[in-house]
Amino acid sequence: MPATTASKIWDLDVGPEVVRFVALQDAELTGPSAAVVAGSIVAFEPGISEQHRQDVLRSLLLAQLAANAKADRQKDPAGWFTAYRGVLEQVAWVVEASAAAARYQPPFAKFTLDTVVNDAFRPKILAEQLPFVTAAIAAFRSDQNSGAELVFECPSHSGGIGNFQVALAGEEDGAVTLRLAQISFNAPQHVVRLLREEFTKTSQFRVGFLVLSMNEEVFARLRPAIAAKLQDRFDGMVAPLQLP
């Protein structure tokens, strides 16, 4: 191949490059952080260890991939979430609290997903925890054409229907807690960029909530099996979000 052609190919714009989340593994991360894992956005509270951050990301990815194999993510969100939750329970996450998906009543005639996510989390978490979630959503919205967008958009929605999750992971005295909003919708429009889309009351949203505690003792035994199962799928389906 002539050198000029190789150079042209190299220069071709083929969309954003996926930034590997593993690049952050060696970093000293003590503040809040956030990432996208397939069709989920996850915010990490300050103080969560890197091992637990990886555990959360791998658990959320495994649950999504396994649920995808059992139910249609977009057309059957209830069946999909049953499978998803079942996987998390099987890999040593203990259900502390759950609210099954219920119809969401938007407060305004026109709204974006920020409002839905905010309304889903506000009654379920402490006031000081909410900014971690809103910062993760804001980071995703402001980081246009990023690897995170590339990872998230495809699994989270299709046409006018969608099914995605937003999670908040924290650690206290070594105990990891995951608070997870499950959001699905059926809208009359073709959704392009989910977090920047404006919805009206004709769109039907359903929101559920799940609080899980990691059973560390059992999870430690499952880590190698989970890592082996995900193998090279992890890097391409997880992307960090740059918090402001």
Binding site: V87, V91, P123, K124, E217, V218
Partner: protein, 201 residues
């Protein structure tokens, strides 16, 4: 799980994980809350958690209307210490005002919009003075003919609401549980590995 750490925390989490997985196999947690909770309790009883009695009873509120928070406080009088009741009252009041979440209180809630039914559980874990693990388990399942907007302080009609309640204190028999620790951990660990291996992704 305030104040519960180390081995005791592992004991609680391993017990709850086993009970949760075993109950899930037999019943649907959301559609069969009474059966699910009974199975959950049965598993705990079989792994050295001692409880005097564990069953649901149907409760009738005396007034024409009642709110769940008032009823819960009334029902837990015999279960909790005055200090715990005071804390629970504070938590419920705080939740009313702030719609906040308190880590001492774990609520399982289900909202259904076709029929108005649901279930939720308060599960608080602590230790007694002699450091014995105690899990106070309160489960509620209701069925009413009106649409429930917020389960804790919704005003229910006594005549049209069926409420089933189970309030029990599970105490861990640590000397027996000590013999179950390894088999329990192996069961959860080994079957977890098998499960992951067989998972289609």
């Amino acid at each position: 799980m305030d104040g519960v750490t180390g081995q005791q925390k592992n004991d609680v989490l391993n017990s709850c994980l086993l009970a949760q997985l075993a109950a899930n196999v037999k019943f649907n947690r959301e559609r069969q809350p009474v059966e699910w909770s009974s199975q959950y309790g049965t598993v705990l009883m079989n792994i050295a958690w001692v409880v005097p009695a564990f069953h649901f009873r149907t409760v009738r509120a005396s007034g024409q209307r009642f709110t769940m928070d008032q009823l819960i406080l009334k029902l837990v009088q015999s279960l909790l210490t005055p200090d715990q009741i005071s804390k629970l009252t504070e938590v419920i009041e705080a939740m009313k005002g702030l719609e906040g979440h308190d880590r001492r209180l774990v609520i399982f809630e289900r909202n259904s919009h076709g029929r108005s039914d649901g279930n939720f559980q308060f599960n608080s874990v602590g230790t007694s003075r002699d450091n014995t693990l105690q899990m106070k388990f309160s489960a509620y399942a209701f069925d009413t003919n009106t649409t429930v907007t917020n389960v804790l302080w919704f005003s229910f009609s006594s005549n049209s609401t069926k409420l089933q309640v189970s309030t029990s204190t599970f105490v861990l028999n640590e000397s027996v549980f000590a013999r179950l620790r390894d088999p329990l951990l192996n069961k959860l660990g080994n079957r977890g590995i098998d499960y992951i291996g067989g998972l289609e992704i």
